[in-house]
Symmetry: C2
Subunit: 344 residues, 2 copies
Amino acid sequence: MDLSDRKRKILQAVIDEYIGTAEPVGSRAISKRDNLNLSSATIRNEMADLEDMGYLIQPHTSAGRIPSDEGYRFYVNSLMERYQVGMEAIIELQKAFQMRITRLDQIIKYAGSIASSLTDYATIITAPQRGESMLRKVDLVPISNEKTTVVVVTETVRSHVINMALSDDECNILATALNKYLKGLTSKDVTIDKMREVSDRIKERTKLDEEVLARVLKFVFETITDDDTEIYVSNMQSILKYPEYRDVNKAGKMFSFLENKDNLRRLIMSDNGEGIHAKIGSENEDEILKDCSLVTVDYSLGDNRGGKISVIGPKRMNYSKVFASLDTISGEIDKILRYYTNNG
Amino acid sequence: MDLSDRKRKILQAVIDEYIGTAEPVGSRAISKRDNLNLSSATIRNEMADLEDMGYLIQPHTSAGRIPSDEGYRFYVNSLMERYQVGMEAIIELQKAFQMRITRLDQIIKYAGSIASSLTDYATIITAPQRGESMLRKVDLVPISNEKTTVVVVTETVRSHVINMALSDDECNILATALNKYLKGLTSKDVTIDKMREVSDRIKERTKLDEEVLARVLKFVFETITDDDTEIYVSNMQSILKYPEYRDVNKAGKMFSFLENKDNLRRLIMSDNGEGIHAKIGSENEDEILKDCSLVTVDYSLGDNRGGKISVIGPKRMNYSKVFASLDTISGEIDKILRYYTNNG
DNA sequence: TGTTAGCACTCAACACCCTTGAGTGCTAAC
DNA sequence: GTTAGCACTCAAGGGTGTTGAGTGCTAACA
């Protein structure tokens, strides 16, 4: 369905206005804007048409009008003017990233907090997911005369403290045996049979206490197969700033939803859009999000790993600014993480 | 100042009532409770006395009375009846802990979420702080033909990916050199001179690229000296359940405060009470906490490490239940972590 | 002397009503 | 096709009166 140029302008004006005020927009408010020289009566007629077409909604007679989900969708697809993130902000961002370059998870968390401070909405961010996980090395380090740390290196590094009175030599022997049989193992290779076979071979080779060996192996196999991704939320409390969540009950439900990582994981995983994209209101599956929009972007590290950043806010969010901010941030993350994983 | 037995009972009744209802408590409500057989007029006289003594406050004439900070303090010190955590809850808790025994930080996070679900208040929890950090081992693991992971084992394990095209052999040589000069190093030993000395020695011994060596050493030294403790908050949104935070602005400020880890760290670090203890209302330094109480308990691992759990809620919190819950949880953490670090 | 009953007074909360103003739809004039 | 005018609607805001919980004080009672 095609809209006349005038209708497009009016729809855009209504949505821009509503994004700013969160109040139903009346015809007079639009006619007073300087870019359209039309009387309020004319605007009224056009707005009535837009309502018939499904782009606007009148909450009750004699109130102004607010955008429908379809209205927002049309706005995001066709009307929205691209916002430009200021150069100062970008430089600020680059500096901030560079200062935090020590730990990957910190960069990710920090990116989330930047996204939320640029947009002033809550942000959900996932740490880079591993692609296939391959075992590089197992190491055993005596910590005291009672304890030993097991270190497993795949794409990431995990460790576990167990109770064993092992000498340096014993650690070396066991580590050597473990590496001999396990190096190069991927999550696909881990089966019950494989676990039993490795266990038997090492047992006959090292003559170590059976239970200790079982515990070490359990941890190693768990580490290879486990791939839960970390997920962070920042700036949750921004929700309270928006009149949509003036009602404390509603806000509370939203908080509970966002505090539950399973919900977030499902939310972000089920997202299969590409590039920057928005899910507006009822386009979200969760009932609780029907008044919200979720704008999501992927970032990638080039090497088969990547994650997502989502900004979540009221449907009446500043899409233009959110799109621009996420675009910039994901670009900078790409840069910094490529640098980090290649030269860091 | 000594209170008559009757005054104590009345004060206790007022506070118990107020904790439940959050409404100013009138004399009639107290006289109707079955444990005291006194008319409302008598109660009125006693309550007027308690107000003169500073234990109660009347928000305005002809309203009921609410406890003052001193009233709560007296209640916590002398009146409160000890709540008993149900055996089923304890067993539930033990089971839950046992299922999560794989990772220390997960246990800690989980303990926080249990504390908040038992008490229904927000919980702040710090991961075990390290005592003195001593370097046990450094390891280098090639990840691809461009990247190598550096693994540093102290009491904990940290890793870092850097860009180096090193073979297994080269990794071994460098690792051996690093271990030779660095093993046993504690945070006290790290000085600029020491760093330079180690760097020079390894340089002449291995003839490795200077920049690469510098990067590895920087990471190793950082890991030894760095001791920022992780800190988690759970169940923040419970704040919205309490009428004290019906006002969205107030709730928003509280959220911002609790989302800032620096605030939390300062809050928990500045706490120097022993055992389970409460900071009530104005006993807290932060202005924003003057309407809150903070109940804190330490847990320890026996081996010089430990952390804290704090429950934060309205002054009108169920102190009895919070004290009992924290007591139970810290006891269970002690047990499970001792088990974990000794036998895990 | 301590306790109780009764009474007048205070004050926040609530319902109710009226007014106001923003906004609409419709119609007639331009 | 656009504008001006008019009657209508409805939410929000500002009094006003009522209600009910609670108090302090006083007098009577055990």
